[in-house]
């Protein structure tokens, strides 16, 4: 029974997923019937404030973006540990608190480190 409920829930998820995809696909397909289709080269040029675009747009970005991404990866994954811990805190008691304090201190040290390294500054 429990398992049924469990699986039913995921059937919902799948239905939502399919609907979420179906709506835009359907909408766009349906829209084809209504909308005009008249492309010509000038229309298909990327918009650059009215003048012709210069150079490739897919340039490399500032390294700051990468670093933010890296920081994000680390911190986001650390939260993975915090969630189970938060749920189970009742059972863990002070032991859990201590363990997580250590964890958070280390995490905080990492944050302080990146702060000091000026990773958190935006240019």
């Amino acid at each position: 029974m429990d398992l049924d409920l469990y699986l039913n829930s995921y059937v919902y998820v799948i239905i939502f997923l399919l609907l979420g995809i179906a709506l835009p696909v359907g909408g766009l397909t349906f829209g084809k019937l209504l909308r005009p289709h008249n492309p010509y080269p000038d229309k298909l040029v990327p918009y650059e404030s009215g003048i012709l675009p210069t150079g490739d747009a897919q340039v490399r970005f500032s390294v700051a973006y990468y670093i933010v991404a890296l920081e994000f990866v680390i911190f986001d994954v650390e939260t993975v540990f915090l969630y189970p811990w938060a749920v189970a805190l009742d059972h863990l008691g002070w032991f859990g608190i201590n363990a997580m304090l250590i964890f958070i201190v280390v995490l905080g040290l990492g944050l302080a480190y990146s702060w000091k390294k000026k990773v958190l500054e935006w240019n």
Binding site: S9, V11, V13, V25, G27, R35, N38, P46, L120
Partner: protein, 318 residues
């Protein structure tokens, strides 16, 4: 039979959602209008009630332009990837004690996990357009969204500690048992959540990714017609989802006296929506460097602190 019911539920939610978005847009324009001592949309239908519908019709009939230099496949699926997750997360929202779909025991995690996929859609859209504005907008959006996702997620942990569950319904029940909504014991968490949520949604004052004065229209500059509509739709659906989550986590979900649960739930959501529109009307846009350092240097440490305090108090109290 079950399956049919499920589909009916999902379709209903979708329909209602589209309606809600339609009127949320109108609501926003009206609210901001009045705040700025304007009337707002008022031509289509009484009180401008058909304005958004007219807009949608227009968008539906606009030409679908795909720039010649765009990465076609990615360009075409980006709106879908942006929209679908925003809608999917609604599967776990429990609108009232009896109206709910997926009762996942990891509801919070599901919500956080799925909602982050939207970011990828944004990035894909911006990148594939092959337009400098789009790319800049997308990059900013992504940087901002990932930066604020962490405080958002950390802020929720406080609630999870108190409730001892990741199930959204259990969290509401926990507030029922406690007799007080989590906004009280988790006020710090709530504030962090609100700020982070606004940034997640790219809403004012954190709407840098689509700062029209700098970046035209941000990551969807090159999008036109119905494709653009889906980006817009995704944003609003996501806003509704975040509001629903906030309601569940901090405002006791469907809890409330006299009125039926669902009404309470929707009212609380509307409150959040209203706050966001209000902020948009009042606050100027922040600078990008302020935005980033605020998230990393203030919100994250605060969120960590909140976790520690919450945990210690929780264990202290038994």
């Amino acid at each position: 039979m079950d399956l049919v019911n499920m589909i009916i539920y999902a379709v209903t939610v979708l329909g209602l959602l589209l309606g809600a978005v339609t009127y949320a847009i109108l609501f926003e324009r009206k609210v901001i209008g009045y705040m700025q001592v304007r009337i707002g949309p008022n031509r289509h239908g009484p009180w401008g009630l058909l304005q958004t519908i007219a807009d949608v019709m227009k968008l539906l009939m606009k030409e679908d332009i795909i720039p010649s230099q765009a990465d076609r496949k990615i360009f075409m699926i980006a709106p879908i990837i942006a929209f679908a997750p925003a809608y999917m997360v609604l599967a776990v929202i429990s609108w009232s004690e009896n109206i709910y779909a997926a009762d996942l025991n990891i509801g919070v995690l599901y919500f956080i996990g799925i909602s982050s996929i939207t970011t990828i859609g944004v990035l894909m859209g911006g990148w594939s357009s092959n337009n400098k504005y789009s790319l800049m907008g997308a990059m900013r959006a992504v940087a901002q969204m990932v930066s604020y996702e962490i405080p958002l997620v950390l802020a929720i942990i406080g609630v999870v500690i108190l409730a001892g569950s990741l199930n959204l319904r259990d969290i509401v029940f926990a507030q029922q048992d406690l007799g007080v909504w989590f906004i009280i014991p988790q006020f710090l968490g709530f504030v962090i959540y609100m700020i982070a949520a606004i940034a997640e949604l790219n809403r004012s004052p954190f709407d840098l990714p689509e700062a029209e004065s700098e970046l035209v229209s941000g990551y969807h500059t090159e999008y036109s017609g119905f494709r653009m509509a889906f980006f817009m739709l995704a944003e609003y659906v996501y806003a509704i989802a975040i509001a629903a989550l906030a309601t569940t986590l901090f405002l006791g979900g469907w809890l409330g006296p006299v009125l039926p649960g669902i009404v309470w739930f929707l009212l609380k959501m509307c409150l959040f929506m209203f706050i966001w529109f209000w902020l948009r009307a009042t606050l100027p846009r922040v600078r990008v460097d302020q935005l980033m350092s605020f998230g990393w240097k203030v919100l994250i440490p605060l969120a960590l602190l909140n976790i520690v305090i919450t945990a210690v108090i929780k264990v202290w109290m038994g």
